[in-house]
């Protein structure tokens, strides 16, 4: 055996050596013989008719090999970029699903919509030539906000989508909610905006494509979180390339956060073009290009109402949301503000009746899709803001109103009125833990200290739950998923006992190479160093749905666990033969097969050797070799959650909000590697803090121009924005995943925006402020203070 490092340990990461020494292998690092450079020409207009494109000047430019446009796509009869989810309205009428051509045809619908692809010998030549493309646009009025898009007379993106409404979706018992509201002692109301975000993984998207005429095979290297899904969607539905003739590789990927879990038009165009020009092509997005083409996130406008009895018990919750889809439906687009939003509106509370209506709306903006948390941060923000508003209006302490409504630990499994059944949880335990960790008892002292410096200090809570581990396929299918959501793993034991795992999830920062190796090391008793994890290549990995929705450990880890179990089962058969014992008498523990009650043993290495050198081996009943595969389809979502407490200081002179303390106590189920889980929580929290305090994607209303189109204009969290965070876990075990895991990738981003904004509102509540929209920038706070301070000054 050797150096077994199992579940609960924090070994240093296997992947770090290459990243620390500059030897990662990202798509933009790839060079192929004879490689050319591709550049996309994108629409500078939010909304326009494409009257014609004149390629001649581009074709005459130095080094240009080809120019492709929507007409070429149409001539080759290629498919539209597919949407992976089909939702319906209350009457069962399917959503409007207009085509999304990979290069624009007839019209452009957002700034950044792709108009042409220019291929030249060098990137400089391609860029210079692209400037020469003559496009005749008939510019139309743009509409970028959801409120404006559904108004009568608004610009219409598609002829057959009246009022720009893709789908008028609903969930819950509307009548029961209305009845409850009639009985309510108090009704709290809240209007809010969930700000539009841009994911900004540090590695911009990129792709390299190559066609081999000798084998008629295509290879696409792409910055993707799910290469097998890209192969399926692009090969089967867009380019008509048989699956066995298409290899998709997603090597090291520099962060995803959802932005890289869609099938993008660029991938299809470059793969199609590689065959047309018979040369490899490389495209690397600039950051500015990413801003107008990476799918955006969030962008909701919401009206919410909470009905309460006289003791502050929640009777019913009603939510009406307009959700921005952008100019076309992206891969998961319509699923995010509906199926990943409505079912989370119960939160950790016993609210008996919930109704949610979401109008999914097209606008002249970049398509909106999943961004870390995806639907669940939006739901948590509405609910946790609503709870604070209700507490304040009824004069009940914010912690007390949460306690009065929380699902008690012993009530799990808990069926909510909005589809989902939570299998396990202890929200009260997380809350109690966080209250202590955040030293809430002494908050008054800290508030007084801030006041003595002329600053307003506030404390904010977010007690939340999310649904992740996407997803039980049958359940997802009923909700509109057009694919399965299982995961697969192959455990290949080599003749010498080392192990290679092929898994369908994708590692782009989450530490899978380490966490999954720990699972194998523990289960098979092999050395941690003797396990390698392979992912991200459709030629090496059997199949897989990739990484998103905090699913990798929950669903992929379960498949891996099942596959290792199968290895052990086969190993026992081999051991029984070699040890001349009955199979039922063979035990496997710590890397050794033994006959129960004896000292007769065979090591894992000996069994692996016997499987590949089957001289003394039961060949009549057992195949040689030691390699097992498992697919795992979860029976339910998992429901991580917890309590986040933010503490802020507001400077009334400048409106600057400073996050001074942050505490999170989260229930993520079994923790395989505490170091990695902590890192995931840190990163997730700061992305949520970014939404609450800094980040905002802003469009100019009339022209449809993206105003926050660079890192100079879109404020990302930086090192000096943050205090040291306190994070801890308070875990209950998931009852239906093999290892009790729940997932931890998104919890930070889901819990934190509400905690931060609740703290900001608390800091300003003495001025009569009841709500602050995100991001709480100095400008926004300063304006609020100018308006709020007048009556106070008059007192």
């Amino acid at each position: 055996m050797g150096n077994v490092i199992g579940i609960g340990a924090s070994p240093k990461r296997k992947e770090d050596q290459r990243f620390l020494t500059g030897r990662g292998n990202y798509v933009s690092d790839i060079k192929r013989p004879g490689m050319t450079a591709g550049v996309f020409v994108r629409s500078p207009h939010g909304h326009a008719v494409l009257r014609g494109i004149d390629k001649s000047a581009v074709l005459a430019a130095p080094g240009v090999i080809a120019v492709l446009t929507g007409e070429d796509v149409a001539a080759d009869k290629l498919g539209s970029l597919p949407c992976g989810w089909g939702i319906s309205d209350a009457q069962g009428v399917p959503m409007k699903e207009p085509p999304f051509p990979m290069l624009a045809q007839g019209k452009v619908r957002f700034v950044g919509d792709m108009v042409a692809f220019v291929i030249a010998e060098t990137p400089e030549q391609a860029n210079a030539a692209a400037e020469l493309l003559s496009v005749d646009y008939e510019v139309l009025p743009s509409v970028v906000g959801v409120l404006e898009a559904v108004r009568p007379g608004a610009p219409q993106l598609f002829d057959d989508v009246p009022n720009n409404i893709c789908c008028d979706w609903e969930l819950g018992d509307k009548a029961a909610v209305e009845t409850a509201f009639r009985k309510a002692a108090h009704v709290a109301k809240l209007s809010l905006v969930n700000n539009r975000l841009i994911g900004n993984p540090m590695e911009p998207r990129a792709a390299v494509a190559e066609y081999e005429p000798g084998t008629d095979r295509f290879t696409l290297w792409t910055t993707s979180q799910f290469p097998h899904v890209v192969r399926f969607l692009m090969g089967a539905l867009v380019l008509n390339i048989p699956q066995h003739k298409l290899r998709v590789v997603a090597p090291d990927v520099g962060g995803g956060f959802g932005v890289k879990q869609f099938h993008y038009g660029e991938e299809a165009v470059i793969t199609w073009a590689a065959k047309r020009v018979h040369r490899p092509i490389k495209w690397v997005a600039s950051r500015s290009e990413g801003y107008v083409s990476d799918r955006h996130g969030r962008d909701h406008v919401t009206e919410a109402e909470l009905a309460l009895d006289e003791t502050g018990k929640f009777l019913a919750f009603r939510v009406n949301t307009l959700a921005n889809m952008g100019g076309y439906l992206s891969t998961f687009g319509p699923n995010i503000p509906t199926n990943l939003y409505g079912p989370l509106l119960g939160g950790v509370y016993t609210t008996p009746a919930i109704y949610c209506n979401v109008k999914v709306v097209f606008t002249n903006t970049v398509p909106v899709d999943a961004y870390r948390g995806a639907g669940r941060p939006e739901a948590t923000f509405v609910l946790e803001r609503m709870v604070d508003v209700a507490a304040s209006e009824m004069g009940i302490d914010r912690v007390e109103i949460r306690r009065r409504n929380m699902i008690p630990k012993e009530a799990y499994p808990y069926q909510t009125p909005v589809l989902v059944q939570y299998d396990s949880g202890d929200p009260m335990g997380c809350l109690d833990g966080a209250l202590v960790a955040a030293d809430v008892k002494s908050f008054g002292v800290r508030k007084a200290a801030s006041a003595s410096k002329g600053k307003f200090r506030g404390l904010g809570y977010s007690t939340y739950v999310e649904a992740c581990g996407l997803a039980p396929s049958r359940f997802a299918g009923r909700l509109g998923a057009r694919g399965g959501l299982y995961e697969s793993a192959t455990v290949r034991v080599h003749p010498t006992g080392q192990v290679t795992v092929m898994i369908g999830t994708h590692n782009h920062g989450q530490g899978h190479e380490t966490t999954f190796a720990q699972i194998v090391s523990e289960k098979l008793g092999v050395s941690f160093e003797d396990v390698d994890i392979v992912f991200g290549d459709t030629d090496r990995v059997q199949f897989g749905m990739g990484t998103y929705g905090s699913r990798s450990l929950v669903v992929g880890g379960a498949a891996l666990s099942k596959a290792t179990d199968k290895v052990i089962v086969k190993g026992k058969k081999i051991a029984a033969h070699l040890l001349e014992a009955a199979e039922v008498d063979i035990q496997f523990e710590a890397g050794k097969f033994s006959v129960a009650g004896t000292d007769r043993i065979k090591t894992f290495e000996e069994i692996a050797g016997a499987a590949y050198v089957p001289h003394n081996y039961p060949l009549e009943v057992l195949e040689p070799g030691l390699e097992e595969q498992a697919y795992y389809d979860p029976v339910n979502f998992t429901y991580p959650g917890g309590c986040h407490i933010a503490e802020v200081e507001v400077d009334p002179e400048t409106g600057t909000v400073t996050l001074v303390n942050y505490t999170a106590v989260d229930d993520v189920g079994t923790v395989i590697n505490p170091m990695i889980v902590e890192g995931q929580l840190h990163g997730g929290i700061v992305q949520g803090v970014g939404q609450a305090l800094f980040e905002n994607a802003v469009y100019d209303e009339s022209s449809g121009q993206l105003l926050s189109g660079s890192l100079m204009d879109y404020c990302m969290p930086r090192a000096d924005h943050m205090p040291m965070m306190k994070v801890a876990t308070h875990s209950t075990l998931c009852t239906h995943t093999p290892m009790g895991v729940k997932g931890c990738g998104e919890v930070g981003t889901i819990g934190s925006p509400a905690a931060v904004i609740n703290a900001v509102v608390d800091a300003l509540s003495h001025l009569g402020v009841t709500h602050v929209d995100m991001p709480a920038t100095p400008n926004r706070i300063w304006r609020l203070l100018q308006n709020a301070s007048l009556p106070v000054a008059a007192e």
Partner: protein, 161 residues
Amino acid sequence: MQISFTLNGRPTTVDVEPATLVAELLREQLHLTGTHIGCDTSQCGACVVHLDGLPVKSCTLLAPALDGATLLTIEGLQGTSGSNQLHPMQEAFREHHGLQCGFCTPGMLMTAVALATEKPDLTEADVRHGLEGNICRCTGYQNIVVSVMAGAAAMNAAKGE
């Protein structure tokens, strides 16, 4: 034009177009792809290298500026202490989980080494302020800050030996 400079300890002469950025020269001509390009506005810091011992964003520097200079990239950091071991700052990032996807890491490391060289007794506030020009989207910076403090302490200890 032809330029000569010292690259990771080795004399190097290359022919470049004068408009070539140092980041492009490294990545495309010299095949040193550890220096990353994460933006087009000199904001992200993934491309930081050391020019004559000082940290610079190589996406904003033209190749002719290298003539006669000494350049250190992430590929040269390992082994700068004489052996082929990881630099104490690289070791600290590994020890304290100061990286996730790895894309910002080369720039973070080069900035961190420069910070620790410039001011041996770094405070947390110094580190946070010093990393203003390097964006990380994965880690929330916490473990990077911890890593830089630990790496700086290890560099000091090594100096004292």
